[in-house]
Structures are given as structure tokens and as C-alpha cells.
């Protein structure tokens, strides 16, 4: 795992000291809020509905046990004993006081963490596949690329005031677990026919007000050209992206309005200019970074205890079925720890749970943890011999929900329970759905299902790419929820289609029940997944389930018209 260099350490400490001075001047009145707001946002500090919120970067979602313990300490000492893991692999504290934030940032710096560039119109935390370095389908670990981009983009003088925020995701696997096609830039490590490793570069993806799937701007980019090419994209965007309207300022709009071919030719021209000046110094840096991400010292051990437990314990079997993914080594597994306890808040972990996760990672996962964009925690390298012990440890911490990938494994943004931008609540909706399908005992029967909920059009809950997406809106002073169907966040990425008029909070759950009931009737062989079924039969049966009176009303209307 990458450790801070002396340069990183000095830089982060200097930023904390600088911010401490800015906070002091704000409290004394020497700085107005207008002057202070952009400074606090540069350091990840928002003002939300009930309190300040500090967003802490977890680069490419990777952290070690010491860092996780420090997050737990911060939660206890300066917050309300929990943290919220987000869809961009960050963690948020919902209740810090302004005067405490510099101390929190110092405590983060003690474990090589910070909150820099977690807000503002800059390049945000670079995210990556949460199974990076462990996945069985991986061409190459994407984290050295993400770390290189982190170093390059941090405080990059040219890209601190972009037209809008800019998000980059990297994957090294065929299966896209990093939602690369919903990012401003998506990078996919691939191997060419000549056996050379490089990148497929995607550009112009994004959710929010105008959801778009990224397009391939470069089918294959040699790896040594990464920085000049990315810099060329950013430079073209910085100069040509719209600054007249914040809702049209993301690069996806530039791609849409300019056209992919025209934009590509501008980027390629800029790339040629950049390449001529580019000394290639990053390749030496990359080599050092790659060393830091060398695979841990795996140890082959017999897995009898795991096999015996599978035979003897049905709860364990069920948890293994949902939570254990294939590791690149057959004697290891990747454990996804669900932060979606039925009735809990998606993505939240208490300080006690964070400490338990840190202990388990230290003991059983080569000291590594990951945060997934699906708001779960990953133990990436667990020997199969240790899986029973990990399960027991998770159970003791209330973290052994066997629901990963199922209907209660819901992504939900904080919504109007916390967020100042939200138009409706998300969390109670997620809680109600999880509780209801748990009561019905249908979760296992339904199988793979991605429900994603956003509390406003900005789509932090990724609702556009949910198999079932839910968008909370304010309709004349009442919470109202629109449903989209058929979205997909994987390599088959698709934007869901709006099913029809929204539902009140009370009507939403019955509507979802009708939708799921219809799926269970329509699916083939009792095993076809919801998304496959939707793709096969189309939206009509699901729409008629959601709006059972609508067909009759249309028929009556046509009859009256004919008469």
C-alpha cells in the first residue's frame, strides 16, 4: 500500500496549518463567509442542514487498519460516534464543530489522510475498483494509476478552477465495478493485441441533471502517455467547457454539444503539443508507486475449517454465498462487509464497528480495507482458512448481514436528513424497503437487484444506474418519488428510464412491491435476474404493475374519443 512520502506529509501538514489560520480568521470576523466558503470547501468542509459536514478523501477507496482506527477515534472524539461511507469511496462526518476541524485534519494527517479536493471545481478523489489487486478477472491493479493521478492532480495549478467538478475512475478488470462509464473520465486498463498494457479512455459520463454514459475517446492509450493525454483532455475542457451555466458545465455537456469526433481531434492536437514538452518523468514515479502496491505475502493454508463450516452452518453458507468473491488466488477470498443492516442507514458504521473492521483487516486481510462505491467495506485478501473467523468477528460487530447484491443492499445518498441540496429524504426510503422485503422473506427469492436512491437531481445515490432507481423530489411541498427502471452501473452501463409519474412516500413501497411481484411472475426459469428480465420483456409489464389503473384509464379515454 502506498505510504506518504516526505513531500506528501509536508504538503498536508502545511495545508492543515493554513486552514487553521483561515478558521481562526473566520471566527474572529476577519474573514466573511463569502471569503471563507471557497476556502473551507477546498478542505472538504460543507455546511449542511443541521451542522458542518467534513468529507475525508480515501484515495481509490484503500485504507489500512491504522487509518480506519483513526476514523473511529475522530468519530468518537469530535463527532457522534459514526461515519458515513459514500458513493465516491469517501467518508463523511456529519457533526463536527467549526473550531474542531483543524484538529480533525491534523489527526487525519497523523495517518496520511486529508480532506483536500473533496469539494470544489477541481479533480476530486480518484476512485478505483474496490477489488483492485485481488480480483480474479483483473488485467492489472488500477491503484498505481489512481495514485499517479492523485499526485498529479493534487494542487495542480492549472486545474483548481475548472468549469465544474471533475471525477475520474479507474478499473483494471473486465467487469466494471468502478462505474467508469458514469465518470468525467473513465480509465480501463486493457491489453492490446500486441500484448501491450494501456488504457481505454472514456470521457463524458456522468449522472446528475443530465445523465450520460461515457464514450470511448481513445480505444487504446499506451500507458506512458497517460498524463499528457489526461492533461490534454483537462486543458481542452478547461478552455472550452461552459462557465455560463453550472448545469451545463460538466465535460459531458461539452462532449454532447461539440460532438465526440470534433472533441477528439481537439484533444489529440493538444496531446501532440503536450507530448512534445513532456519529459516522461512520471514513469520513474510510476515504478516506485507500483512497488508500493506489490501483492502482500500470501500464505497457502488448508481451508478445512471453512469447508466444515459450510457444511454445518446454513447462516454461514448464506453469508458466504452473498459476501465472498473470487480472489486471484484460489485459496483466498474477497469479503464484502455489508453496511446495509436491515433498518440501518446505508453506508454508516459506528466507531465500534470501524474498530472491529480494522482489527479484522489487520489480523486476516493483510492490513487492507477498501470502501466500495456501493457503500460497503471490503476485506480484499482473506485466506479461506480464516473466513470462519472473519464471519464470527463480523457477527459480533453486527456486520454479518448476508445481503450483498440483494434488494436491501441499497445505495442511498444522505438526502434531506442531512444534505442542504436535497429535495427529499433517501435514508428512510431505503430503511422501509429493506424492512419490508425482510418481513416478506423475499430477498433471497428475488436475487440480484440494485436499488439506488437519490434525494435530489444531483444523483449522488446513482439512481440513474440502478436496476430500480428512486429519485426524491419536492412536489408542492410534499416528498415525491420518481422511479426509473433498467439502469445498470456495470460494463453494460445504461441509464434507467423514468417509469411515469412519481409516488408519494406512502404509495412508494406498495408500488415497489407490485413491481417486484410482477418480476417474479415474468422471469424465466425462476432464476433470471431482474435486469435480464427487464431487458427481455421491456418496460410495459413493469409500468402496468406500477400504474395498475393507467391502462384502464387509457382504454376508457379511447372509447370516449371513438364515441
Amino acid at each position: 500500500m502506498y505510504n506518504y512520502s516526505e513531500f506528501d506529509e509536508t504538503f498536508v501538514r502545511a495545508r492543515v496549518a493554513e486552514f487553521r489560520g483561515q478558521v481562526e480568521r473566520r471566527i474572529s470576523g476577519a474573514l466573511t463567509e463569502e471569503e471563507f466558503k471557497p476556502l473551507r470547501l477546498k478542505n472538504g468542509l460543507y455546511l449542511q442542514l443541521h451542522a458542518y459536514m467534513l468529507r475525508v478523501a480515501i484515495p481509490y477507496g484503500t485504507l489500512n487498519s491504522r487509518q480506519m482506527r483513526q476514523l473511529a477515534m475522530i468519530a468518537d472524539r469530535w463527532d457522534k460516534g459514526y461515519g458515513h461511507f459514500t458513493t465516491r469511496q469517501n467518508v463523511q462526518f456529519n457533526w463536527p464543530g467549526l473550531g474542531d476541524v483543524p484538529d480533525i485534519l491534523d489527526a487525519l494527517a497523523d495517518v496520511s489522510m486529508h480532506a483536500i479536493q473533496t469539494s470544489g471545481n477541481c479533480i476530486r478523489n480518484v476512485t478505483a475498483d474496490h477489488f483492485a489487486g485481488a480480483a480474479s478477472d483483473e488485467c492489472e491493479d488500477p491503484r498505481p494509476t489512481a495514485e499517479l493521478l492523485r499526485q498529479w492532480s493534487t494542487d495542480h495549478p492549472e486545474f483548481q478552477y475548472l468549469p465544474r467538478k471533475f471525477k475520474i475512475a479507474v478499473t483494471g478488470s473486465r467487469a466494471d465495478r468502478a462505474v467508469t462509464r458514469a465518470h468525467d473520465i473513465g480509465l480501463r486498463l486493457i491489453t492490446s493485441e500486441e500484448e501491450e498494457t494501456g488504457y481505454q479512455v472514456l470521457v463524458g459520463g456522468g449522472l446528475g441533471r443530465t445523465p450520460m454514459i461515457a464514450k470511448i475517446i481513445r480505444p487504446f492509450l499506451p500507458r506512458q502517455h497517460l498524463l499528457p493525454y489526461i492533461e490534454a483532455i483537462l486543458r481542452v475542457y478547461n478552455l472550452s467547457g461552459r462557465r455560463d451555466n453550472k448545469y451545463k458545465a460538466r465535460i459531458k455537456i461539452l462532449v454532447h454539444e461539440t460532438g465526440l469526433d470534433e472533441l477528439r481531434s481537439r484533444i489529440e492536437a493538444e496531446f501532440e503539443r503536450r507530448l512534445a514538452d513532456f519529459a516522461g518523468v512520471d514513469q520513474g514515479v510510476v515504478a516506485a508507486i507500483e512497488e508500493a502496491f506489490a501483492a502482500p505475502a500470501f500464505v497457502a493454508r488448508p481451508n478445512n475449517r471453512h469447508l466444515d463450516r459450510l457444511d454445518a452452518d446454513s447462516n454461514y453458507r448464506e453469508w458466504v454465498r452473498t459476501s465472498l468473491a473470487r480472489h486471484k488466488r484460489p485459496d483466498y477470498g474477497i469479503v464484502t462487509v455489508s453496511l446495509k443492516r436491515v433498518g440501518g442507514t446505508p453506508g454508516d458504521a459506528t466507531s465500534v464497528q470501524m474498530t472491529a473492521l480494522a482489527d479484522l483487516a489487520e489480523k486476516y486481510s493483510h492490513d487492507e480495507l477498501r470502501v466500495s462505491h456501493e457503500q460497503n467495506i471490503i476485506l480484499p485478501h482473506v485466506s479461506r482458512a480464516d473466513i470462519p473467523a472473519v464471519y464470527d468477528g463480523l457477527r459480533a460487530a453486527g456486520l454479518a448481514s448476508a445481503n450483498v447484491g440483494l434488494i436491501s443492499d441499497i445505495i442511498a445518498c444522505p438526502g434531506m436528513d442531512y444534505c442542504a441540496l436535497a429535495t427529499a429524504r433517501s435514508i428512510p426510503v431505503a430503511q422501509d424497503i429493506a424492512r419490508r422485503f425482510d418481513e416478506l422473506g423475499l430477498e433471497k427469492e428475488i436475487g440480484p437487484m440494485k436499488i439506488k436512491i437519490s434525494g435530489c437531481i444531483n444523483a449522488c445515490g446513482h439512481h440513474h444506474v440502478g436496476h430500480i432507481g428512486i429519485l426524491g423530489l419536492d412536489r408542492a411541498g410534499v416528498e415525491n418519488y420518481q422511479i426509473t427502471l433498467g439502469g445498470d452501473a456495470t460494463d453494460k452501463a445504461a441509464i434507467g428510464r423514468r417509469a411515469g409519474p412519481g409516488f408519494s412516500a406512502e404509495a412508494l413501497l406498495p408500488a415497489l412491491e407490485r413491481l417486484v411481484d410482477r418480476y417474479l411472475v415474468e422471469r424465466q426459469d425462476g432464476s433470471e435476474s431482474f435486469i435480464d428480465c427487464y431487458r427481455r420483456v421491456g418496460e410495459a409489464p413493469f409500468k402496468s404493475a406500477l400504474y395498475p389503473g393507467a391502462t384502464q384509464r387509457r382504454t376508457r379515454f379511447r372509447r370516449r374519443k371513438r364515441a
Binding site: 470576523g29 443541521h50 457522534k80 473550531g99
Partner: protein, 100 residues
């Protein structure tokens, strides 16, 4: 035609704590919506909002929020957003609801 002015209160967030505060009839900042002064005159409300702009090292981002008044004269939020600000989140017993 301009919209008819409806009753409003002045609310903001405390600079240090970040929590919601309300301007009371005595001109002090208080913690709960029900303690807020209700403005029924637009000019008065606008002038009061401009006046508290001078207290910028106490609060952040003051604005006028719609209010209704109960039969016994207690101001209440007219919109669910203000209701949540006045009580706290629905997933934990945190925020104002926990301070009662």
C-alpha cells in the same frame, strides 16, 4: 401580479456549531422554530434580514423561511425541509430533537 407575502421567520446556521438558529422577537438567536419571531410584513422582514447581516461572525447564511402559526400562536414550519432542520435527522435521535 406579485405574490402575496406569507408569514415568515428568519433562520440561519450558527457559525461555530453549524446548527440551526432562529431570530426571536427580542432580536436574539434561539434554538427552536417555535421560539422565532413571525413576520407578516414584507418590508419589516427584509429590513430585519438586512440588519442581522452585521452579525456575520455569529451565523451563516440567514434567510426567510415560510411559517404557519398554530391556533395558540406558536410558529410552525410550513415546509418539510424546515421541519427537518428544526428537529434533526430521521435515522438517528440526533440534532435538535435530542437536545430537548
Amino acid at each position: 401580479m406579485p405574490r402575496k407575502f406569507t408569514p415568515k421567520i428568519i433562520t440561519s446556521n450558527h457559525l461555530l456549531r453549524g446548527d440551526t438558529i432562529y431570530l426571536s422577537p427580542s432580536g436574539k438567536w434561539v434554538d427552536r422554530f417555535r421560539q422565532a419571531r413571525v413576520f407578516t410584513d414584507e418590508t419589516e422582514a427584509t429590513q430585519a434580514l438586512a440588519a442581522i447581516d452585521r452579525q456575520r461572525n455569529i451565523h451563516v447564511g440567514a434567510y426567510l423561511a415560510d411559517a404557519s402559526v398554530s391556533k395558540d400562536g406558536v410558529p410552525q414550519p410550513a415546509h418539510f425541509r424546515e421541519q427537518f432542520r428544526d428537529t434533526g435527522p430521521s435515522n438517528y435521535f440526533h440534532g435538535k430533537q435530542a437536545e430537548v
